[in-house]
Symmetry: C2
Subunit: 320 residues, 2 copies
């Protein structure tokens, strides 16, 4: 059973109520709690030792990642985080200094975004450290961006550079909160998601929710230096698997590596040039790339100098 | 390092902000999000296979317990739950039917209290099932009950019967949501907590937060049938440890066994008789016991026919 089949099974028949604006399946749940112009955002995310971080990862960075993943999901809805609860599962014999350092890293990133840590719990996790963060935030009702709003003809953008995040970025990424709020304040953003499973996989979530397809431009995909360096080092060894005929592995890494925590979003193509120009002024240090367009025909294709091919590369899927 | 020392260490220096009404250290965090007459309640709680439930526990009951613990914490603040997120960590080889049954049990209790399950996530937990539930709820600003409001002279009440919950109740308890709301609607409840670690331990949380002490009446403690039966079975064997001179083990079980998930609360002694009378009419099926009174002198004493002694019995403490 794949993770997606499992989630489909578990989501069938879950109870709802009149407070639910967006339930399972987007970056955050969205609740109507009676505030005149705001929705409440609600999100949880867990990291597990040996799965999301290695036992020798610097503990401050583990804390940064644990809360950063939730913040990135709030960014994907164009929201503002408010308060977090932290559940930490620890083996019987744990190193207090390591746990303290995890909280130091978590608190530093929380403070940077004015997020309060209002409690949580410690529990016994006999075999490895587990950190689950729950987050509450808010979003303007008319600026809440879901995955389901992409329209044929939209330009597809991504922030930053992609691929090779295991070399370090997966522990150090900056959640794009200010960028997402600025975007929705100045542009009509149709759909947005944060890149956690990998571009090829996360784009599909947007396309499925919006019932559209996409055509990507191979040379427009922003490939990170880490992805290029990994490929260079691998060149001495047998080539890593290449899924797209004629493309080298750095592109594949940018398309399928997970944990970039950049934003992917779509706007009407008529807004694309103005968006580029304003972005450069507002966020000169962060690259923005238009990587393709939304199509009415479903499925994903990728175009390079050799022509257009179906993109079959998948992101990382748990439980497979 | 005990759990309490660990929590003290981790809570030092956590970031706050202007939305926080109650931070770490009560049954729920309380947030001011701009609603005129309501606070938002925020809580997480995790159960771990082998710690909070055995591998052979009926999975529906495991789900019931996982969400019920959070609902019990919302009850302890006299709140109303709204929406939950569920994080489930699963080994690589998991039984889909077992996981589905956990969600069935969770959904049934959620539906009963009109709580929506709005998502969550699945993650890999290589060695055992972990279920973490995050809950958002609300409470009338003028009815939110904290642990810190107990006053000398208050009568101390508990709902239900205590002890021996491992015999079954820990998987089947009913969160006392309606009872808590009714209490705060009709009475000035000074302090409240739900009994998760055991009466002797949880009462101390109230006393510490309120800077008071308590005197309990041994014969007023409501001892469950499960606690009595366990003692009867143990009578054939060497006596279990007895911590209070002259008392038999059923009382000790009622004082120190965890996971009863009943409410402990205090009201002015002048309200006690009226409370008893109205309770019997309102909740004829649920026992209510006045177990003692709050004292200005700190510490806990227990009185029986032999006199008054300090109560040294402690509840279950993780990591010790």
């Amino acid at each position: 059973m794949t993770e997606i089949e499992l989630i489909d099974m578990l989501c069938a028949g879950l109870p709802g109520n009149s407070a639910v604006v967006v339930g399972p399946g987007d970056d955050c749940a969205v609740l109507e709690l009676g505030l005149p112009d705001r929705f409440i955002l609600f999100k949880t995310d867990a990291v597990v030792e040996g799965v999301h971080f290695t036992p020798d990862a610097p503990p401050e960075k583990v804390g940064h990642k644990a809360i950063g993943r939730c913040l990135s999901d709030v960014a994907a809805m164009a929201g503002t985080p408010i308060a977090a609860l932290v559940t930490v599962g620890l083996p019987k014999q744990f190193e207090p200094e390591r746990v303290r350092a995890i909280y130091t890293g978590m608190s530093a990133l929380a403070r940077q975004h004015n997020v309060a840590i209002v409690g949580g719990e410690t529990t016994l996790s006999p075999d490895r450290i587990v950190i689950s963060v729950a987050l509450v935030g808010w979003v303007h009702k008319n600026r809440c961006v879901q995955r389901s709003g992409a329209r044929p003809g939209d330009a597809i953008f991504v922030t930053g550079e992609l691929g090779g995040s295991l070399a370090g970025k997966h522990l150090e990424f900056e959640p794009r909160l200010a960028e997402a709020r600025w975007l929705t304040e100045h542009f009509d953003v149709h759909a947005m998601i944060d890149l956690s499973d990998g571009l090829a996989s996360d784009l599909r979530h947007v396309l499925k929710a919006s019932r559209v397809g996409a055509e990507l431009l191979a040379e427009a995909i922003p490939i990170s230096r880490a992805a290029r360096e990994r490929a260079r080092m691998a060149a001495a060894e047998p080539l890593p698997p290449v899924d797209i005929a004629g493309q080298k592995s750095p592109l594949l890494a940018a398309l399928t590596d997970g944990e970039d925590f950049e934003l992917l979003f779509t706007v009407a193509s008529a807004d694309a040039v103005r968006l580029f120009d304003s972005w450069k002024v507002q966020f000169p240090g962060l690259r923005l790339s238009c990587i393709g367009k939304i199509t009415a025909a479903e499925g994903v294709t990728i175009r390079d100098k050799h022509g257009t091919r179906p993109l079959t590369a998948h992101g990382y899927v748990h439980f497979q």
